[in-house]
């Protein structure tokens, strides 16, 4: 992010800007910083929501290391993100490339591909998915028509995971739009120059399009990873974490510890760990792509 330097005009105090962003300063302190710190502190207590929290130091975290449920949830979450995010980026990039072609009726196609993402996590969509993937649902009927064996989407671990991945993949429109915008911003002259130099469209894609999209790919990667690692709605409504915990994400673990078992201290320890894991994953992404934090 480039910093925009603007010398305040005559008569404008240097506190004017500060005054304007006051809502954000208060909001950040009250709704992000406070709960963040609070969560860290609660993570070191035993707390059932009724009697006062009891300080137990790092005990929750030691317990966490030995908790099979946590280990499983972490593995499920990482696997889910590793499966969904690359697929989603790939599909949305391909779709954006197709939509970037100058053909008639592109508006219709753009809307068609974008609409599922605005419905997003809407519960209606999750319910729809439930029906599509039941044993006699549309998906299995189509599989039968194609001569394939129907799949037990709710009964087996891998299909259950895949069903949830497909739901989120179906909503690739938001990432697609970001790619599309970036594609439109690439100067045409680059392609013209490449063509004059005898560069084919595939090589133009590799040497012009991809490098120009680097920062957008990165932004999408980070945003999608953060979202994927927090997944809660879909497994909660579709599979309830099953079968055999194969779709039991960290989000579900936190929710059930907090509101199912009232282990509020432990729930906060898990959620803080989740924050740390997400932070670590994002940091690795910054490192691997050779970016500094402030360049996103």
């Amino acid at each position: 992010m480039k910093k925009h330097s603007y010398r305040n005009p005559v008569g404008v105090s240097r506190f004017t800007g500060l005054l304007l962003i006051t809502p954000f300063i208060i909001g950040f302190a009250a709704f992000i910083l406070y709960p963040f710190i609070c969560s860290f502190i609660l993570g070191m207590t035993e707390y059932n929501g009724i009697s006062a929290p009891k300080f137990i130091g790092s005990e929750n975290y030691t317990q966490l290391l030995h908790d099979e449920k946590f280990g499983n949830a972490l593995a499920v979450t990482l696997k889910y993100a590793a499966l969904l995010v690359p697929l989603k980026l790939l599909v949305s990039l391909c779709a954006a490339l197709l939509l970037n072609a100058e053909i008639r009726g592109i508006g219709f196609y753009r809307t068609a591909l974008y609409v599922p993402s605005i419905l997003g996590a809407n519960l209606s969509v999750v319910i729809m998915w439930q029906y599509l993937f039941t044993s006699d649902g549309l998906v299995n009927q189509l599989l039968k028509m194609l001569g394939a064996a129907p799949v037990s989407w709710y009964g087996e671990p891998a299909p259950a995971m895949f069903m949830i991945v497909l739901l989120r993949l179906w909503e690739f429109g938001s990432t697609m739009i970001i790619f599309l915008t970036a594609l439109r911003d690439i100067p045409r002259e680059l392609y013209d120059a490449a063509r004059v130099d005898g560069c084919g469209s595939f090589r133009a894609f590799i040497h012009i399009t991809l490098p120009q999209l680097k920062s957008v790919i990165f932004i999408n990667l980070v945003l999608q990873t953060i979202a994927a690692m927090q997944e809660f709605n879909a497994p909660y409504m579709l599979t309830d974490g099953g079968p055999l915990g194969s779709t039991y994400t960290l989000g579900m673990l936190i929710y059930s510890e907090m509101f199912g078992h009232f282990n509020m201290g432990y729930a906060n320890a898990v959620s803080w760990t989740m924050f740390a894991v997400i932070g670590l994953v994002v940091l690795i992404m910054f490192r691997v792509t050779g970016r500094r934090r402030d360049s996103a």
């Binding site: 240097r14 599509l132 028509m145 915008t181 920062s215 932004i219 906060n268």
Partner: protein, 276 residues
Amino acid sequence: MKKKLPVYLLLTVLAVIMLYPLLWLIGASFKTNREIFSSVWFMPPRIELSVYKNAWETVTPYTMGHYFLNTFGIILPKTIFAVTSSVLVAYGFARFDFPLKRLFFAFLMGGMLMPSIVTLLPMYLLWSEVGLLDTYIPLTVPSLFACEGMFVFILIQFFKGIPKEFDEAARIDGCGTFRTLIYVLVPCIKPAIISVAVFSFLWTMNDFLTPLIMIRSVDRYPVSLALRLSVDSTGQGYEQRKIIAMSVIGLIPSVAVFFAAQKKFVSGITAGGLSG
């Protein structure tokens, strides 16, 4: 033309995959249980609007209308709060220099990376401490404080696209900081404001976890929780089309708002330099 055919073909296949589930859902709302699970074709054999009349009544003690009013009771203040506060904050960041500006901007970016579930648990405890659980305050008030970094970010990008000469001209004509914003800049960033409002609407419509945690009484449920309640309280042999019709009804506001704002909205997000 020859080269364009594969593009059309691929796009058409993709569009069918994307839209068919929705068509199927609408069709299924008119079908009997047997018909739903025996044909892949979406067209129902008959269309009886009474299904929707039944679905409107829901399987819960209240009608869909009641839940919609609840939902809009959350969305309306939330969107107004979010737009107002985000515009002010974005204006401050985009147009003025002030102490610690870099730090606060880093906070803005950092907040966007914060997983919402981490902040949700302590907020739940806080709201329960002050006795405001089961009201809409936990759902709406945070928006007064520009908490959605993404909104501020989109608006900042837009502000930066307006030449500073506009502000200067306004200032020479005697406009203060505030009047410059209202009369000169806000009209220029209208597409971005509409984008932010639409996003705020859609995200609130889709939000499930926050109301699930904060709202307890069924009579205060938004549509999303009411749908879940209906799914949970009906079993296998139940008339599925009623639930399906309720789901269709639940999608209408989002689709309507999207299409009403589509032109401005799309130009808002595409020009908004989310790609920045």
